[in-house]
Amino acid sequence: MVKQWLAFIKKEFCHIFRDKRTMLILLGMPVVQILLFGFAITTEVQNVKVGILSPSYDVWTNRLIQRVDASEYFDVVSMFASQDEVNEAFRRGKVDMVVSFQHGFGDALERDEGAVQLIADATDPNMSVMRSAYMSGILSSFREDLMKGENLSSSGIDTQVKLLYNPQMKSSYNFVPGVMGLILMLICAMMTSISIVREKETGTMELLLVSPVKPVFVILSKTVPYFVLSLVNLVTILCLAVWVLHVPIAGNLLWIILVSLLYIFVSLSLGLLISSVARTQVAAMLGAGMILMLPTVLLSGLIFPIESMPSLLQGISVLLPARWYISLIRKLMIEGVPLFYAWKELAILLCMAVALLLVSLKLFKNRLE
């Protein structure tokens, strides 16, 4: 029995290794995704293009403008003289925010009646909120300096901030677990189902069915290489996360790997399920793509927080294994809380694994029909 098993596995690896393009994509996809999500996909406030609208320039406005320009977040890119110019610049996307001074700002400031208006391009609401908050911060520190200059006590409330788990507010902390969920699902479910359906299409499945090897055994052997491949990807992702993105593994590595194995198991069962329903490779691909990938990307909390979704969509997301896995990994890997705090997710994944395996084995046929 072991010999047959090895023969199957060897054959599957030959299939994978000989299709260079697909293999390159399978191994390259996690790397590219991790790098993109880690570096390129960030919502950090940076390089904000600021315009200044001021009817007159005096010592105070100039000091304020310098202050803004000196900040690491903002670049003052243009000076406007009229509201029309501002409108055009916004339309063309030349500025993200305009600081507008009233007429005679300097004089008004001395009379304590100074006013500054921040006009923000709020098409992107989150960025706009963050940019306005950063800008307000710069302006109020300017205000405090003024007060110190006049030797006034600047009475206020001191705010201390503590950012848990992700002190530098890096987006990668949030995305790494998501990418793990996505890639493992892609490789296990999609590739397994395609490779099984391909044997149906080319007719080799007929021969395997006629052989004395138990059909269930045939199918299970097909999952092994993809299991190995997903382990390779898992390790790649973890290594990249730790050494390239500097995302620390806060929790117990052993648990992270065990949980990932459970998730891989769930995904493989899903792949088997699809392969017993689909007749052609294209159908398997579209099925896996539409039913698994799209909801996984959108509804599992990979990019978009589940809490902000309407309850109907939250209900759908409950059915996605990726949702629970991503949540588990965030807790175990990034937050480093003990497994005990994540018992709910773990229990749900376990139930899913058992249910899916039972269903897919039940659906599997010993014959062609």
């Binding site: 393009r21 391009d121 609401p125 007060m147 206020g156 409330i157």
Partner: protein, 368 residues
């Protein structure tokens, strides 16, 4: 003339397919009806725990201020910091706000009292937006207290007010809708052509076409025009849906919107055909296009701003046609931009269309 027959064939095949016509109608509806709700980075309902160590009238007032805010859901007031942090770890709260002992006393003594804010920053965006909101509340509260205490001259030297243009209610759906239309055009007009030529290869029908005198340009045009029309249909569907369901109408000219979208469709369909020409099997084509689309969509500025990316990534986005159309869509829909304002994007899209389509024709080989 020959083109007429080729188009007739493409359309008949399209409509006879049991799956594609449905996909063309159902997919946009699904995306536009579901995605704005799902693809929502709007940050409201932040779960907040307050640790009130002072239990004074001033700290009570602060708590009321938080309760009154739209952004926070007060999950409870506790007296133990450790307990609050435990609940944060369990995921019951997103942030903890600790009001220090002697808050009121310090204030009366004209010292600065302090507040500790602890935020779960695993999701960086959510963390920083939550922090911005809390800071704002604290600042407002400080000013309110200062005004009451008007004996000393601590009134602010100047006021700052924020004016949110183009999306005054900070509605995330309005931000996403134009970008989702770009996704739609990309998925339908990029994926389908990529599978088209390669499926003719797999079925062997391409060989029969190759022995005919039909020209390369004509053949590619015959493949391209159907997607051009599909793009038109999908876009119209998108505009009507977002108008009817979300009440969002373009502030700028529809003509410019259609014009630039069509140029974009030519570019992306061209890319699909190039991939198709170079693939031997549908599976290969599917993987390659999936890979390309993933990079294109993530790097288009659709979800995260291009300006926040590091320099090298910003450089890569120059070669991403999606980026330009996302900018165009948002500018026309929300800001009412005209063709003159979008000349850069229009130029870029035209260049992409020309290059991709020429490559598509060039890479289609009738001979070996």
């Amino acid at each position: 003339m020959i083109l007429k027959f080729l188009l007739e064939k493409e359309f008949k095949q399209l409509f006879r397919n049991s799956f594609l016509p449905r996909l063309i109608v159902v997919f946009p509806c699904m995306i536009l009806l579901v995605l704005p709700w799902a693809a929502n980075l709007e940050i409201r309902n932040i779960d907040l725990l307050v640790v009130d160590k002072d239990c004074s009238s001033l700290s009570k007032r602060f708590i009321h201020k938080i309760e009154a805010s739209d952004y926070f859901r007060l999950k409870g007031i506790s007296t133990s910091y450790d307990e609050a942090i435990l609940r944060l770890e369990k995921g019951e709260a997103d942030a903890v706000c600790e009001i220090s002992r002697q808050f009121e006393e310090k204030w009366i003594r004209k010292e600065n009292p302090d507040i500790l804010v602890v935020v779960n920053a695993v999701n960086g965006t959510k963390g920083s937006v939550a922090l911005s909101y809390i800071r704002q509340i604290i600042a407002d509260y400080a000013e309110e207290l200062a005004l009451e205490n008007a004996t000393s001259k601590i009134v602010p030297k100047f006021t700052v007010n924020v004016h949110n243009r183009y999306n005054p209610h900070l509605d995330y759906k309005i931000y996403m809708l134009p970008a989702l239309m770009v996704t739609l055009l990309t998925m339908l007009c990029g994926f389908l052509p990529a599978l088209n030529v390669v499926s003719e290869k797999e079925r062997g029908t391409i060989e029969q076409i190759n022995v005919t005198p039909v020209g390369r340009w004509i053949f590619i045009l015959g493949k391209m025009i159907p997607y051009w029309i599909i793009g038109f249909v999908v876009l119209t569907l998108g505009i009507v849906l977002s108008g009817l369901v979300y009440g969002l109408f373009p502030a700028g000219s529809l003509v410019v919107l259609y014009l630039l979208s069509i140029v974009f469709v030519l570019a992306i369909a061209g890319l699909g055909l190039i991939i198709s020409n170079y693939s031997a099997t549908m599976q290969q084509a599917m993987f390659v296009i999936f890979f390309c689309m993933l990079i294109f969509i993530l790097m288009s500025g659709m979800f995260t701003p291009v300006e926040s990316m590091p320099q090298w990534a910003q450089f890569i986005t120059i070669f991403n046609p999606l980026k330009y159309l996302v900018q165009v869509m948002r500018a026309i829909y929300l800001k009412g931009a005209g063709l003159a304002d979008l000349s850069v994007q229009a130029g870029a899209l035209l260049a992409f269309a020309t290059v991709f389509d020429s490559l598509a024709v060039w890479s289609y080989r009738k001979k070996s």
